[in-house]
Symmetry: C2
DNA sequence: TGGGTATGAATGAACGTTCATTCAGTCCCA
DNA sequence: TGGGACTGAATGAACGTTCATTCATACCCA
């Protein structure tokens, strides 16, 4: 018994550890080369396992892509939503959402990029596609609440507001990745304030244009 | 002469006409399946030519992708910039830019999608990558002018403003393509006004936040 | 008839996937 | 306790398929 426990540190269980290593490796190479652009062997090499082993943990490349997509979505979901008050909206909550998304994009650039790729669309099954939709539901709810309590402009339909907000954030980090700019903390704060103006209700008595 | 002109509709000169048919076909299938996800034969089939003919007009798949990328960028460039005053900025010019981009995205969804794909990045040569950068230079200039004349907020660096603006627009049409929303003309107008608020100077005497 | 053009089967390189084999670790009985 | 039998995870060469590309052939108009 005690022997077995000691052995597990070297290779004993190694079980889900290896599975995780494959997922990590796949995220890295997919983010760099795209899903269609990445053969299976480089994934295995990056993970430090053989191709055969990879197929022990995942039935196919498609299954790997879907598992990775859902795991990454869940990761973002958790990062964004854990402990976030979903039943009210004020400026500080908006700032917190912005901050969390920026933190995620900064700490896990490969994950952020992978989620935004379009290239893997033909690989995704219904569950994966659905998990994409689910992530945005809480944000939509927050925006609707904000519109009801008069803090957000009700000129924009919530879906449109989400698309603008999300698109801005993605555009920002995409531009940085492509080398068109480098985002300082101050840039991100200014961008945050600008995005708030996009969806916020104009200060009373003023119509826009 | 007249005979040749008449014949050209079926197969007569066919010369650059065929080349254009291949580009059109490539745009269509690339937009649908991605560059990595599209074999060469389906492109030829869609264009109504043989695979061998395709290789008469383009040295390789890579050459085709680059030619298409640059042609599409040029198309957007022309659509966006022709006759646009580049030495001033007011609200009506912003609206015109927005309108032109929306028109392009609506009339040529495949072109708009293709330009925003990331999937073809490994195929692109320096010229193509550069043409991407060149497109945004005039917009950058317009934004700088707007900041100098006090119409646009100078809190945002021009590159950041561009990334936010462009990201919003892309996010909007991407959401529509994925079926998350359907954009009415009114939605587009509301989104335009919201984006203007993002980059415009706040009405005097009010600080944002 | 000759020279440029179009064709699509043929080619071999690269892909996703499989499977015969290896081998570290476990078990069991003397 | 020592040693032979068992287990199943790990391996990577090999498989069939699909890809980008070529080229022998057919075609067509001048």
């Amino acid at each position: 018994m005690s022997v077995r426990a000691a052995a597990s540190s070297t290779s004993g269980n190694g079980n889900s550890d290896k599975r995780q290593r494959i997922l990590d490796a796949a995220l890295k190479v997919f983010a760099a080369e795209g899903v269609h652009g990445t053969p299976v062997p480089p994934i295995a090499r990056e993970a430090g396992v053989s191709v055969g082993s990879l197929y022990r943990y995942f039935d196919s490349k498609e299954a790997l892509v879907n598992a990775l997509f859902q795991a990454t979505k869940d990761d973002l979901s958790q990062h964004l939503l854990t402990g976030l008050p979903l039943l009210k909206l004020d400026r500080s909550i908006f700032d917190e959402v912005w901050h969390r998304l920026c933190t995620f994009a900064r700490q896990k650039p490969d994950a952020f990029r992978f989620l935004e790729m379009q290239d893997h669309h033909s690989y995704l099954n219904d569950t994966s596609r659905n998990s994409e939709y689910m992530l945005l539901l809480p944000i939509r709810q927050i925006i609707e609440l904000g519109q009801q309590n008069g803090l957000l402009s009700d000129h924009l339909r919530p879906e449109v507001a989400i698309a603008l907000f999300w698109g801005s954030l993605v555009g920002l980090f995409k531009a940085e990745r492509l080398g068109y700019l480098s985002l300082s903390d101050d840039d991100l704060r200014q961008a945050r304030d600008a995005c708030w103006k996009t969806i916020a209700k104009p200060i009373e008595g003023k119509t826009q244009e």
